[in-house]
Amino acid sequence: MIEIQELCKYYGQRRAIGPLSARIEKGEVIGLLGLNGAGKTTTLRVLACDLLPSSGTVKVGGIDVVERPEEVRRKIGYLSDRPPLYDEMRVREYLQFAYELRGKSSADGKKRVPAVAERLGLERVIDDPVFSLSHGYRQRVGIAQAVVHEPELVVLDEPISGLDPVQIVEMRALVRQLGETHTVIVSSHILSEISETCDRLLVLRDGVIVASGTEEELSQSLLEGIRIELTVRAESSDLARILGVLRAIPDVGSAGAIAALERGARVQSFEIQAKRDVREQVGVSLLQAGFPLLAMQRTESELEDVFLRLAGGTRPNAAKSEVS
């Protein structure tokens, strides 16, 4: 569906994205992730033919965005980070306008617009002026204009931004629903907002894709093994000794002290990164060393850690103290 090869986009002398290469198959729901300024919006604007690339090629459905941009735009529905809404229009006439603007007939639009409004939950406000809509409804109208002409590819730039928790859940469901009939690219700078809705994630940093894959693939490849948090009864002067015990256990990669996970005197907490589940050995070793174990739990490799590592270039848990 989409082939991007060595795409670069410069704003003056500044490189905003690239070199960037990716391939997106028909029917996929892709999450484009990156912190603010990573190049998400520029990438999406190039895909939507709002901007033309400085170099490289982008093909949508086999059609080059530079050579035949009008044809590409026919295949695309685009929601920018600010929904392009005309406040003085009513929702129905706005969607009709957006439909006809894509070269579709007025008569077809009169049937299609109510159907799209129903699908997006806009029936109640379809005859209201756009300026009177809440933020959530404005986002929905923005998505409606992006899909009203039945494009093959739907590009949504931060559709969840600024929504309340209920609206976020609804929007996720909406994106999943769109994925049943369209190829969808959705961007966000907050991973948890889109990780559930996407088949695959592309992580952008400084305009370059630094990782690609499913949530599980990214977790497995980037977070080594498992993380275990444990709390023991010990004095603070015993920290170095306990760390020595933990590091002596086979397959433990690193161990460090963290802020106490429980209240009370003589309570110390630690974190272990290990290649495999070493909880049994940890329990035995600590008991043998004379440190009663108060609690121990395995924490799953969190995608947010992966994202922070990739997108921000920071180590997961960097804020946590380590005692060497």
């Binding site: 957006a98 603007l101 894509r102």
Partner: protein, 240 residues
């Protein structure tokens, strides 16, 4: 072309749903009325002279109104982010510019129609020909159309409507004073500048009811060149 008309229809409806269209037209008509009373009716002029005087003064109002009406056309859309909808629709840049131009041109026409009662008063109570009125209005429409194209061009240059109207007004002022410069410099450049002046030599024939093809072609050319410039700016912006 049909999508240019679609854009024009939307823009035209936006003029009437926002205060801008009504305020500009009402202000222009008020100013026209005051100038008509002051410069045409209060003077002891023959009716033909009064009509010429009306066209002279109302031409300035037409230029100003056209600039005010055109200032929002692209600048406002870029400021509010709605231009993305047009930019990502399967449209060519000339369709966008043509659609927007048609809407502001229609507003200029509406303004002229609403001011028609003043020359009709002279027609009923004096001795003026319908031809003089028709040619005078043709001049107004051509001048207004050229000013609207300049305003639209200026609107493509910036996101700020204020900057847009300042730039548009600056271009108009420069083109207005060409005839002053023409008097101060030597041939052959003075002839070129006189011919390129937006108002003086080119509008005077229309003012007196004389249809000159050269002046007509001049105004059409000005409109075309500035619209072409606006199209090129939109095209170039995609590469930025």
């Amino acid at each position: 072309m049909s999508r240019a008309v679609l854009i024009a229809r939307r823009e035209l409806s936006a003029y009437f749903r926002s205060p801008l269209g009504s305020v500009v037209i009402a202000s222009a008509l008020l100013l026209d009325g005051i100038l008509f009373y002051w410069r045409s009716l209060s003077q002891r002029l023959l009716s033909g002279e009064a009509l010429a005087e009306f066209f002279w003064w109302t031409s300035g109002v037409t230029i100003t109104a056209a600039l005010f009406l055109a200032m929002r056309l692209v600048a406002e859309e870029r400021q509010t982010g709605t231009f993305t909808l047009l930019n990502t629709a399967p449209l060519r840049e000339w369709e966008i510019i043509l659609g927007k131009y048609l809407s502001v041109f229609a507003m200029v026409l509406i303004l002229q129609l609403l001011s028609l009662y003043m020359p009709l008063l002279l027609l009923v109570n004096g001795k003026v020909s319908l031809g003089h009125i028709a040619v005078g209005y043709l001049g107004e429409v051509l001048l207004g159309g050229a000013a609207a194209a300049i305003g639209l061009f200026a609107s493509t240059l910036t996101r700020s409507q204020l900057v847009s109207i300042v730039v548009g007004a600056a271009i108009v002022v420069v083109m207005l004073v060409f005839w002053v410069l023409a008097q101060a410099i030597d041939p052959p450049l003075n002839k070129f500048l006189a011919a390129a002046a937006l108002h003086h030599a080119n509008f005077r024939p229309f003012q007196f009811g004389i249809l000159e093809l050269g002046a007509t072609a001049y105004y059409l050319s000005v409109a075309y060149l500035f619209l072409l410039g606006a199209v090129k700016i939109l095209e170039a912006r995609r590469w930025r």
